[in-house]
Symmetry: D2
């Protein structure tokens, strides 16, 4: 029904394989809150050494709501330029309105994104029922020249993309999969089950339930913690896909608290602090995100040390 057919001709035969681990990269800022492209590039060089499937740019951890549209596109260009071409670039292009999402999606494709990650609009949450969300995503997928990955992140949006909407959208040839950050494993299993005929690909949206998600049929993960412990998450992936569940379990368990610390408990400022500890550039956050207090920094450190990571 739209542009994507003519330009790329995706069919189920040629669907992009999303399986693997992706860090949703943080955006380092200078002390003056400008995007620090130098530090970003240094991070990218290090990430290129880790067996990631690709990178997510402008996921929630990238502080994308704090970037201008120009900055959002510019960062994607910088990543694409710097990253080996065999690594996928999945770019967040979701906006509140359908028209803005369509426009940004095209810019992201032009900037070199291999796929776009489109978050649920959420401001009018009372009206964002399946009908509205299906309409939104179909319009975006129809017009996009690159494949679309749905993105449900209720902790930020207050909204879970309903399963029936996912099932309906999975039938669209330009919608490849779902990043589910809600972590309801029953729901993830159900989505896999109900979309099994569409070769729909589900990615776990957090490291805390990555192994369980693999267990019920997910094909990969977009995990904030991969900014810090990327090799370990790729190792967890390898253990899961090769069926070495006992080893996987032991590793998974040690990742739960560090992951909670850099996401739900202490957020992006903690992620950036932990990146600094592990040899990456985190940098400052943009206001109104605040630096960690001393007590928070201690808590963060404890969540890594008590699990043997520091």
């Amino acid at each position: 029904s739209g542009l994507w057919r003519g330009t790329r001709g995706h069919t189920s035969a040629s669907r992009l394989d999303l399986s693997g681990i992706y860090p949703p990269i943080a955006t380092p800022f200078t002390a003056r809150e400008e995007v620090d492209y130098q530090k970003l590039e240094e991070n990218l060089h290090k990430y290129a050494q880790i067996p990631f499937k690709g990178l997510v740019v402008q996921g929630s951890n990238g502080e994308y709501p704090y970037l201008t549209e120009d900055e959002r596109v510019e960062v994607v260009k910088a990543v694409r330029r710097s990253l080996p071409s065999d690594k996928l670039v999945m770019a967040g292009s979701g906006c509140e309105s359908t028209r803005a999402t369509i426009q940004l999606t095209e810019k992201m494709a032009a900037a070199g994104a291999d796929a776009v990650l489109v978050v649920t609009p959420c401001f009018y949450k009372g009206k964002m029922d399946s009908r509205a969300l299906i309409e939104h995503f179909i319009k975006v997928a129809d017009s996009s020249s690159v494949p679309v990955v749905l993105y449900s992140v209720p902790a930020n949006t207050g909204l879970d993309l309903p399963v029936d909407a996912v099932v309906r959208l999975a039938q669209h040839p330009n919608i490849l999969g779902l990043k589910d950050s809600g972590g309801d494993i029953t729901r993830i299993g159900l989505v896999v089950h109900k979309t099994s005929r569409q070769d729909f690909q589900v990615l776990a949206g957090s490291a805390g339930f990555l192994m369980a998600a693999y267990c019920v049929g997910a094909v990969g993960g977009v995990c904030a913690l991969a900014n810090v412990l990327g090799r370990e998450l790729c190792e967890l992936e390898r253990l899961c896909v090769t069926g070495r569940w006992d080893e996987a379990r032991a590793l998974q368990q040690r990742l739960i608290e560090p992951n909670a610390a850099v996401t739900r408990k202490l957020g992006v400022p903690a992620l950036k602090q932990a990146m600094e500890w592990f040899g990456f550039h985190g940098g400052a956050c943009r206001s109104p995100l605040q630096p960690l207090t001393e007590a928070e920094t201690e808590q963060l450190r404890r969540d890594f040390t008590s699990n043997g990571w520091m």
Copy 2:
């Protein structure tokens, strides 16, 4: 501590009086989803005949998250141009980042806004504690050349500006008041109580609790329903401020269901439909907001007719 001191010299003596009723105006769109300035202007001419204290432009009902920054500013200019100068223009200038909010605030002031309404940032809701929100609003208020009104709208943001943050911010000479759309009347009473020495002005954010808010000390209301039943809400104001509580109660009660219909229950599409019924231009919504279904239209109609408004 900032720009606003020098340029306007607000002191407690000269504080802008916010008391009264404001419609948070809807933005009419054409069938192609462009801003329909012609229809907007016709609405403004009608609103000028109603004893409103002023208008809120880019409140939640204005679909501001669906407008570009340029459109947001342009609409404020159009309103200021068209509206008699004795009517206040309060412009929504809240963005997720502090820096974007500061920039848009200045554009709104330059576009003719008498005050800005600044919503709580909310995407990283887990990190938006009092510390972060106080820092955000102080930076904005310090730099703004026009007075700032705080805006708490948990139904959309998933976040209630904490009372202790409001109390702290009320001490800032460039923060005049709070639009509270949460509707917790105990909280509204407490805010009035704890800011009584600062001459802080609280506005009810919805018509459903307007009378109760006056009762506990609010000075006015920003009410979606004022787009439809503006005269009636100004009449309710008059009854409250003159102490005619029995008449006020009878009128208030008839407004609860129509108000719920155009806000919590059926949202902006219902507000725009009701505007059409009552002689204003509602127009289409931008996608992903969907037109009302037939069943929803019937429900909307019932909420007006059963209370004697149609």
Copy 3:
């Protein structure tokens, strides 16, 4: 349709007038967690001096879920015995099952209750829709020989009795009113509005929104804080019903924080501690309710002193 018709013959002409203030009395326990009837009686003698309309026995603050059925009935008997006959005794008789509620209601009536307060069953909250709740309350009201007051307390039950259920139940001749502890003032106004033909009586379930509830049409309040500041709440009632709203507002505002402290913030242990400070017997709580920590006691004291009550 049931027993109550024959035995008492309530008609709308003879409906019990519920208007006024009620403390939902605390149950003092000994150090060994036995009901301390001696201390209870001393409290009752003091309450008899305050112009309360009556007392609620076995409301949430009475720790009724921690009492055996025998204790629940025994306490009501003790209260009825001790209290002047012109004071109403409203006894909590709600249980999870309809049959248990019916049985306890009869025991409460036999023990001397003038009316029963019946809380929404809540354990199977997903199934407690309007259909189930209407059925439950009608069966109870049909069989009860004393009038029934509905009780909605979402902070404890996780469930708000839906407005449509209240409106339906208000038509039952043996259902007199609603104690609403949720505090949504828009909802309270709507209930008053939609039941105006049934002479249905709404009681505010907390002191924090008592004045606002009067303002929108409530006829009284069942307020935990009345255990501590009973005279002051009766004075607030007097100011509201005589239309002295400015004085009412000043008094109401000073009650919000003490009320929040003994309810939402610090709960029954704080209520009992405050009772001790103000010359009543609070006594211990039953486990698992814990005594206040020192920090909590300080916070409680501050909420009273900063409002001029200590």
Copy 4:
């Protein structure tokens, strides 16, 4: 520290092995809402043929909040009498107060329960923090002559037993494990991880996430759906514990929708209806639980047929 030491002498060496599948049995009622012991016994005979580890009596699906204390004990006696002695009987003995829980626990032990399942008290949810809950469970475990299993079921109680409380309680020699019905798989993994030195046993509280729970380290499940599809759940257990994850996944996926139907979506009345379809006695529910509507019955049927179970 209490009775249980002397009488049973549990040590970590002799800890009761909880691993396996348990139906939390439904309580069949007659049309007059009396416990139907005849039908109960017939169900038990059928359950005895299924390789369950044991039965849970008075779990949420047993409508225990609708039973009198005498009925609760009587049903346990009936189950113990009828069930082969190699099957465990785990009896729900949780009440709101600590003292009532202690008393009922002893009655359950005397009635033949091998262990008790103790739900979190929840009425005063604002006060049920880790401090209160730890105190409660320690007192119960100290005095109980049979081992205690913690029970967290937030959909009914509005309360999740905090992980730090679980970790603390796992050190008590008479607290064997946790039934977790919340289904947060990250939390379940973390509990397994943080209690690994205590040989603490975690049971999944619902069939929807049974496989994922095994994957992260749970040892069994207490699953409403086992009342209906007991053999299938025991087969799923076998596949998980023998590491046949691909087969497990295919089976697990077909169980998600039937499980949701008899729990979260349609509740106990649906569970009882499905039992009738599959050759067991469900019987009526006690009021206020209502029979399924026709539309609900259709939905229930669809959730079984579309997954190939009917």
